[in-house]
């Protein structure tokens, strides 16, 4: 099923939950809503579910406006962070509840619930109460309940936030595999960008109720259109340095005190002559080498596979990922090589990208 949001807005008095959201989800597409806490992800999702009435704007399912369709008539499945399992019902009753409401005959209900439960690997837990299950098992029951009525749209509200890191990893691929296999259009709310980037076909980045960007994970990562997206997507986050780009002898130089790097002309020409601009570069695009920009090691944080190193270049401070074998120490002087094919430029006042506007 295709979903379209048009100028979708939700307000409670002065509080803005979602502000003029425009977005479309293609049939069988997996879309993630990504954004910091309080940015309106749940609000938008609940409007799609029909729980909240929009203050303004439209929601369309396959071209039909559904603003006034009750949740029960929208044929959606939903999975919650809190699992929201009915505590007084056992696993079978939880999973079959949507079927019971549809007045599906008993034996078919039994069959379908069992099939979904087996698919989720909880077929043997049918007569347990939710309180007698682990968090991971509860999440599978919740997923089973959402899937059992074969919905046309699946909504997830941070379903994996309460699971431990390993389980989260395996559930992530499991949900993705299920969704691809069944081909159900899905909207997945998360504030974990790794989840969004790895699972989604497209990611909608939100901030303060507004849609900031809506594109594929690769594009968000490689061609961020705003300073906010550049800083929000990617871990560890992108470094930002204020500088000036000038053209000299046919080369573009990005310069500030203690820093002078030649930028490829396709990127440099868009930032040259604009006065002060913000240069963005990801920690993984900076390497420690024998020559290049001099810098001083300030703090070394071990991330296991890499060290995250805070360096000072003159007044400026940047983060660099380095091989722990180098054994860098505080106060050590090194030289940095910048992968200039990956640099971004932003206008400091509009905070828009100078490269991908």
């Amino acid at each position: 099923m295709k979903v379209e949001l048009e100028n979708l807005t939700k307000r409670w008095g002065n509080v803005v939950g979602a502000d003029s959201m425009n977005l479309d989800v293609k049939d069988a597409e997996f879309v993630a809503f990504l954004g910091p806490s309080g940015c309106g992800k749940t609000t938008t999702l609940l409007m799609v579910a029909g729980i909240y009435k929009p203050t303004a704007g439209f929601i369309r399912f396959d071209g039909q406006v559904v603003n006034h369709v009750a949740p029960k008539d929208r044929n959606i499945g939903m999975v919650f962070q809190s699992y929201a399992l009915y505590p007084h019902m056992n696993v079978f009753q939880n999973i079959s509840y949507p079927l019971k409401l549809k007045k599906i005959p008993k034996d078919e209900m039994q069959k379908r619930a069992q099939r979904v439960a087996d698919m989720m690997g909880i077929g043997h837990l049918m007569d347990r109460r939710p309180a007698q299950l682990s968090g991971g098992q509860q999440q599978r029951v919740a997923l089973g309940r959402a899937l059992v009525k074969e919905p046309q749209l699946l909504l997830f509200d941070e379903p994996l936030s309460n699971l431990d890191a390993r389980l989260r990893l395996s559930m992530r691929s499991e949900i993705k595999r299920l969704q691809m296999g069944l081909g159900i259009t899905s909207v997945y709310v998360t504030h974990d960008q790794v989840e969004a980037m790895t699972m989604a076909d497209r990611v909608a980045v939100m901030k303060d109720g507004k849609l900031q960007a809506y594109s594929t994970p690769d594009e968000l990562y490689d061609r961020p259109r705003t300073l906010f997206i550049a800083g929000f997507v990617g871990n560890p986050p992108m470094n930002f340095l204020e500088m000036e780009v000038v053209r000299e002898n046919g080369d573009y130089h990005a310069r500030r005190e203690g820093f002078d790097v030649v930028i490829p002309s396709d990127r440099g020409e868009k930032a040259a002559g604009k006065g002060n601009v913000i240069l963005g570069i990801r920690p993984e695009d900076i390497t420690i080498s024998d020559e290049g920009t001099p810098a001083e090691v300030f703090i070394v944080e071990s991330l296991g596979r890499d060290d995250l190193i805070n360096m000072h270049i003159g007044e400026a401070s940047i983060h660099v990922l380095a091989d722990p074998v180098l054994g860098l120490k505080m106060g050590q002087n090194v030289r940095l090589d910048f992968n200039t094919h990956k640099v971004q430029f932003f206008d400091p006042t509009t905070e828009k990208s100078l490269l991908w506007a």
Binding site: I51, A84, Y86, Y97, R145
Partner: protein, 325 residues
Amino acid sequence: MAEAVMGRKVIRGQKPPSRWAQFKATMGAWGFMGPATVLVLVFFFLPVVILFVISLTDLSSSNFSDPLTFVGLNNYVRLFRDRFFPKILGNTFFYVAVTLSCFNVGMALLLALLTTHINRRAGFFFRLIWLLPRITPSVIYILMWRRISHQPPFGLINQLLAPFGVEPQYWLFEQPWLFVILVNGFVGASFGLILFSSAIEAIPRDLITAAKVDGASTWQSIRDIVLPMIRWPLLFVTTYQTLSLLTSFEYILLLTEGGPGLYTTEVWALTAYKRALKTYFGHNQWGYGAAWGFVLVIIGIAMSIIYLRVFRFNELVQEPKIDVL
């Protein structure tokens, strides 16, 4: 550090607790339970015993300075032979059953559901209004009802219905039960209302959202999610209110005094009160009244046991949240 703690636990697990430790645990339990036990003994158990003893005598306001004469079960025989005993028993069950089902539980539940499904502030305000009868002094409250149901040419109902061509009448006399039940119900409903609405509000929002998304209508989500989740307060209110209705009589006393006519709205507790403490000629039959009172205590205890069995309270009691060593 962690190992040391674990080590101690293991040792504890292996060795059976010493006599001294057992003694300490027992004393601790008594220490905590003691004050409540004393209260129950002094203010419930002891009075019941005294009540029973009095019911075996012919103590009354005409012979209270003489030594006590025990008359065996004579008072009980007299009670069960009383011409109005079946009437009073029937009245009592009718009064309790109808007030309980229509108001103390029924209306309370309905109002709790309503006030939790509308705007929060409006709901709160509405509940506050329903508390008013409870905080109004009984005499004033009953006076108000008597004015409402007064005989022509007075009475609020008569005034209000006159424009519709309804014949004015003495409503309280024509429909005494209606008013007895309304009067008690309006007060009784607020107790359940408060308990039910707080229990409903404690249900996580996500559960209701989940039910709606699963395809439930409002009514279905109430039936399948809300009601099962407030089962405990429902059963508690039913039990508690049954017992308090059984023993309550002050509103009936003030409103109809058990009338109009002979024993029309007389309930058991009212009879006990009248026999023991208020007879027309100032002749208070304490012994006989005590017999009525004692039978009521037995009915109350029997009802409690039945409720405990029927509702399986044991199963509702959750495992303690804190493990005590």
